[in-house]
Each structure stands twice: as C-alpha cells, then as structure tokens.
C-alpha cells in the first residue's frame, strides 16, 4: 500500500541528500518525493509517498526522525488530509481539431491552458493523485509531447499542524509520553 509521510527539515545544504540516501540505505521503495520551502525560511517541507506495509512506514518514520536535520515527521496515511499533485502537459496542437479537442477536455476536467504556441499547447491540472491519473489517461489519445508531475503534497485537515503536534508522543511507543528535546 501507499504511505504518505510529511517531514519538516532544517533548510540546510545536504538535507535532501540525507533523506534520499536513507531510502537507498534501508532499501525502502520511494514512490514520490516533493520538497519546498515553507513560510519559515529556515524550514523546508518534504512529502514522501512510499510503497510498503504500515510497519515499514513506521520504521521509515523513526529512521527519518533520527536524522539530526529532520525536525518533525508525520505519517498522514490514516488521517484526513488534503492531497494535491500537479501535472503540466505539452500537447501537439497543430490543427484546429486537436486544439478544440484539448479545449473541450480541459473544460470538462477543470484543467487550465497556461501557454499556447504555434505548434503546442501547455495545460495544467491540479488534483488528487487519482484525479491526475484520470486526467493523464484522458490526454493519452492526444499527441503528448512532454509531461511532468510535481509529486504529491499533503496537508492534514483541521487545526492540527506539524509544529507542536502531539506526533512525537505517538511515534515510537506503545503509549503516550513526553519526549524531551536535548
């Protein structure tokens, strides 16, 4: 099954290398990895989708947590989240027929046309992983020149946030407890 983990990491050189290296080292199967800065310039956020059993995801989480530069890890597989994946697709639209086809499809599926050139058109679609898959499948009959996906980003619903969450207390142990820092 697919497990989604969110990490907050210090925005330092080499941190992504440490995270990715962990996957190779511990023989985990990475499905996607998305990284970017947050509103706090010192902190980056990584969303990882990994293929495996839930206990493997747990072990991955504690191993991530052991990295000194990783501040927080949250396994959001089983909690309500908003998930988004973004796709950009470049479609050959040399004739009006193809262009109309693409325009209709975008309208039906809620995608946006973001660039129109003499030969090709670039469309953008955002949605859950399943929606993105469906959109890409709908594009297949057209002439796809290039396609890129951002990988999944995920955010828990409700007031809980990553910092100050009670995540730490539940991660490693059979019962809640307070972990002290340093």
């Amino acid at each position: 099954m697919k497990n989604t983990l969110i990490c907050l990491v210090e925005n330092k050189p080499g941190v992504l290398n440490r995270v990715v290296s962990l996957f190779r080292r511990r023989n985990y199967n990475m499905d996607s990895l998305t990284v970017g800065r947050t509103h706090n310039p010192d902190i980056s956020r990584i969303t990882i989708v990994m293929e495996g059993e839930p206990f493997q995801a747990k072990l991955l989480a504690v191993n991530l947590y052991k990295l000194v530069d990783v501040i927080e890890v949250q396994d959001v597989t089983d909690i309500p989240t908003v998930d988004r994946d973004l796709v950009l697709a470049k479609i050959r639209t040399t004739d009006a027929y193809a262009r109309n086809n693409l325009t209709d499809l975008c309208y039906e599926m809620g995608a946006r046309i973001v660039d129109i050139g003499p030969e090709v058109t670039i469309v953008e679609f955002t949605g859950t992983e399943e929606n993105v898959e469906a959109f890409i499948n709908a594009l297949r009959p057209l002439d796809i020149v290039e396609l890129v996906r951002s990988g999944l980003v995920s955010m828990g619903r409700g007031v809980r946030n990553m910092q100050g969450s009670d995540y730490k207390s539940k991660r490693f142990v059979t019962a809640p407890r307070n972990g002290s820092s340093n």
Partner: protein, 579 residues
C-alpha cells in the same frame, strides 16, 4: 579573543575535556597541526595509517566512555578513516573525527586530495558537518561532541576547509543550550509503559534478560544487577554486552547467538519472556528470525527508537535511556523465584561445550597448542582482570567464550561491523584511556596484519600493551565456514606469514614465540613484566573450529555442537543466501 580556525579546533577540544587525539597530518589539515604547537596540554598520537587513528579513538571511547577524537587530512586521509567510522557507527561508539578539506574556493573542482567527505561518510556517521565559515566552527564542534556522546552514541565528522582553518574570528565557547530542533532524546518512560512491562515481568515463568552494549553505554550495570537479583532472571549477553553483567554470577548464561553456549541459546528459545536491554536483535544473535524464541513475549528497552520492532516484533517497546527506565522499574518489581526454570537451565548447562572442549584438548597426548587453551590460560594468568581487546575471527569468539569478564568496559571488540584490524590499534587507544589497566590485544594472524603498522605507534608512544597473536596460519573463521559449508575447499585462506617475532623486533618491540601450552604462563608473565609494548606469538593448530555454532540463517536451537556432527553440516545447513 581573536583566534584562527585552526586554534579554535584545539580550544574547543580542550573545552570538551579532550586530553589525547589520534591523528595523521597532511596538506589540508596543516594549519591545525601548526596551531597544535601552542597546545602542549593536548597529547597527539601520531599513527601510521588513518584507519588506526579511528580505531584508537574508538578503543579510547569504549574503554573510557568519553568521546574519542581522530584527526586526518582531506581526500585519502579521510577515506582511510571510513572503516573506523563504520566500525564506531555499528557499535555505537562516541567519536569525533576532524578532517581537513581543500579550501572552500576549490571545493567541487576535483582539487588535489579533494574528496566529498561529508558525502562519503553520510551512511557511516551519526551526523556530519562541512564547516564553511570560521564563525560557525566553535558551535559546530560543540554540536558534534553533543551528538556523538548523547542518545545512541556514534561517530560525528567535522570537515574543515583549509581557508576556514586559516581565517580569524572572535572566539568564545558558547554555553547556551544547544539548538538542534531535530535532535531528540528520550525522557522517562511513561507509566503505562512501565505498567505494561511490569505485568509481563510478573507473569513470566521462564524469563531471560538479553543484555547488550546499551547496558554498558548507559552505565546501567548496577541497575541491571539489582533487577536480576530481585527478579531472579537469568542473563544472556551479546558479544558487546560482555562486561555489562558479571559472568561469574550464578544467573549469568554467557554469550548468546551464533557461538553462544547451547544452554544460553536453549534458554532463549524456551523462554516465555525476553527482556531485551540495550541490544538490537542482530542476525548473529537471533539466527533464523522466524523461529526465534517462538513462545516468548518480548520487552525491548532501547535508546534508539528505530531498533524497536526492526528485526523482532515486540510486545512492549520502550524508547528510553536504559538506566532511567530500569530505575523506574526497580522500585515496583516483585521478588521473583523461577526455581524450576533455573533448574532446567542448570541441566542444560551440564552439557557444556567449553568445558568439554578444554578437557578433550588437555587429554590429547600430542601436546599441541590450541587456540581455546591460549585464551583460557590468558584468563587464568591474568586472573581474569585484564582489559582485553580482540580482533575479528575465531580468536574473537574464543575470547568471548573462554574469557569471562566481570567489569564493564574491559572487553572491546568490533561486533557489528566485524572489522579485521580493529584489535591492536584500539588496544593502544584503550591503554591511553585506562593507563592503570593491564591491556591485552588479542588478534589472529590475519587481522593483525591488516593494521600491523601501528606497532610503530606503540613503539613511538612506548605504550604498555601486551599483544598476543593467535597464529594458525589460516584465516581461521573463513576456513571454518569453508569446512562446514563449502566442503573443505580452502580457497584463499592459508596464509604464508612473516616471522612475527622478528617483525616485532624490527619495530623495537620485544617478542616471543610460544608453541606449547607449558610455555604460556612464563610468556604471559614475561610480557607483563615489560614496560612498554611486547608481543607474544602463539603458534596454534590449524585444524580448529569454534564450537558450538549456529550456521548463518539456521534456527538458534539448531547448533553444530560436536565434531562428528560437523560432517553432516553442509547438507543440513546449506543456505547460501544467509548473511
């Protein structure tokens, strides 16, 4: 106070209480070495190969519990230290490694002696740093020591470019709390965890404690002993757990696992409760994980949360410092009995391999010398009080079997990584840490030759260690596997060795050769009488096997215990994919 980066390195080391560093100079670390002239209070041990420096720092750390420090230059200097860091990483030894790096302006240009050291050492360090600004240097070194010694200890590397060593800044050693938001240490165990553990402990009828390196590292030797005495629970030790519980105690079962006594492994297999204290269920300990201790509930207390449920699924996992958690458990423990269980174990112990083997060897009329006798006699003539440092191989397992230890930090060995060549250099480090201990380095002829250049270091420092080489002119442990699992095709295991006595003498180290059991006592006493390094070569029989043995991947209760049984082994245990 305005100081150069080079001076700051040593200032920080002094602030961290470092007294001795093991190192080797080179281009990119030269500013630091030049500045070392101003710090005569820091003793620098010049090694002969950087791997030796890391093993010495490792031995120093294991013997003292303090952070060991190794210093080397960029490129080849740093890559030579990787084996030592990996060794320390696997055995959780606190170590700080300082390496020079090419100037920041040259990084990435494939400059002379440039290597991406932080990249290379990523998987073999607990954490590592590349310092690019002299202003960050002091704080980085402070963090490095903090990370190395706290939590599950491990090696931390600080890579310092030459221009950072030459740059100047205002030096002050920070004393504010260390700011590492991603570095978490466990607090006390929650009462629900304690209650859950207590319930299992009090219900158990056939409990066994598995005591690992964590007992020694957490300083929980006293607490463990109290626990054992209250609950009357037998204690099995991992290889690195040796010394964590006195092996002359009536409830000590000795070493567990691949070369553990049958009684110890039987007890684990038949137990209804395993209490894993600071150990990690390594494959050498569990054998076939599917059949490992099938009837038992399991409690696992470890400082590293990623060890809990990694190899063996446990019923109660407690992330915590072992000493703290045991202190929480102790006042709530009820007195245990387990007389039937202990009687059962005693019965198994009646059929002891070690005793039988020593007896059989002693009765042989040919008067030949066997490795087990060497270790057993070393135990006798050092009254079991020496600090022994082993290398890796048959002699290492024999040491674990025939040299029971009663004090922590008196048996140092490369367990997790199994690094041949670890022994003699780390004995040098251990002697620096514990100058009042009688230190014995015990190596095989194979492993000894991997780092024998450090004989020169021993000579230069006139360090008082006793070096024993158990020489069977074979890579004995590999030969043992070839005998059991490869139908005695002894490929690449016979060794044509140098004359170790002449070799030692060439280094200015007095040496002797022992070829019969009768000579052992005198040789040991001779070695002890020498101030400074001395070496004894014990020439032992080639055709030797460490019994008992659980073949890799076999069930823990399925041991090869006697020679006549070994003939059938290659059919029974043919598992080419086992580690």
């Amino acid at each position: 106070m305005q100081l150069t980066g080079a001076e700051i390195i040593w200032e920080c080391l002094l602030k961290e209480g470092v007294e001795v560093v093991f190192g080797y100079p080179g281009g990119a670390i030269l500013p630091a070495y030049d500045a070392l002239n101003k710090y005569p209070q820091l003793h620098h041990v010049l090694v002969r190969h950087e791997q030796g420096a890391t093993h010495m720092a490792d031995g120093y750390a294991r013997a003292s519990g303090q952070v060991g420090v190794a210093v080397g230059t960029s490129g080849p200097g740093a890559t030579n230290m990787i084996t030592g860091m990996a060794t320390a990483m696997m055995d959780s030894t606190p170590m700080v490694v300082i390496t020079g790096q090419v100037p920041t302006s040259a990084i990435g240009s494939d400059a002379f002696q440039e290597t991406d050291v932080t990249g290379c050492t990523l998987p073999v360090t607990k954490h590592n740093y590349l310092v690019t600004r002299v202003e960050d240097l002091a704080e980085t070194i402070r963090e490095a020591f903090h990370i190395a010694r706290t939590g599950r200890p491990g090696p931390v590397l600080v890579d310092i470019p030459k221009d950072v060593q030459n740059a100047t800044t205002e030096f002050y050693y920070p004393n504010h709390p260390i700011q590492l938001p991603g570095y978490h240490l466990p607090g006390a165990a929650h009462y629900t965890e304690i209650e859950a553990a207590l319930k299992l402990i009090h219900e158990a009828e056939r409990p066994v404690i598995l005591a690992g390196h964590g007992v020694v590292m957490a300083g929980a030797v006293h607490e463990l002993r109290q626990f054992v005495e209250i609950t009357q629970t037998p204690v099995a030790l991992t290889l690195l757990g040796k010394g964590g519980f006195p092996e002359n105690h009536p409830l000590a079962l000795g070493m567990m696992g691949m070369h553990g006594e049958a009684a110890c492994n039987h007890a684990i297999q038949q137990a209804d409760l395993l209490l894993a204290f600071g150990m990690r269920f390594d494959d050498r300990v569990t054998g076939n994980i599917k059949t490992y201790s099938p009837h038992s509930k399991k409690i696992h207390i470890d400082i590293d949360p990623s060890e809990i449920n990694k190899n063996v699924r446990v019923d109660v996992g407690i992330w915590g410092d072992l000493k703290t958690v045991l202190q929480q458990l102790l006042p709530k423990l009820k007195t245990g009995q387990h007389q039937g269980w202990i009687a059962q174990i005693r019965e198994w112990q009646e059929d002891g391999n070690q005793r039988d083997i020593l007896q059989q060897l002693a009765e042989r009329p040919d008067g030949k010398l066997w490795a087990a006798q060497v270790i057993a006699d070393l135990f006798t003539y050092t009254k079991g009080e020496a600090l022994t440092v082993t290398d890796v191989g048959q002699h290492q397992m024999l040491e674990a079997q025939y040299y029971p230890h009663t004090r922590p930090q008196t048996m140092l060995t490369s367990g997790g990584l199994g690094t041949m060549g670890f022994g003699m250099p780390s004995a040098i480090g251990a002697k620096f840490a514990r100058p009042n201990e009688e230190v014995w380095s015990i190596s095989g002829d194979g492993g000894f030759q991997m780092t024998l250049c450090e004989l020169a270091t021993a000579r230069q420092e006139n360090i008082n260690i006793n070096i024993a080489i158990v020489n069977n002119s074979f890579l004995g442990m590999v030969r043992q596997w070839q005998e059991f699992f490869y139908e005695r095709r002894y490929k690449a295991t016979p060794l044509v060795n140098p004359d170790f006595v002449k070799l030692a003498e060439a280094y200015g180290i007095p040496a002797r050769r022992v070829t019969s059991r009768a000579e052992i006592q005198e040789a040991v006493e001779w070695s002890r009488s020498i101030e400074g390094p001395s070496l004894i070569e014990f020439v032992v029989e080639k055709d030797d096997i460490v019994y008992p043995m659980v073949p890799a991947g076999a069930d823990l209760h399925d041991m090869i215990r006697r020679p006549h049984y070994a003939a059938e082994v290659s059919q029974d245990f043919d598992n080419p994919n086992a580690v």
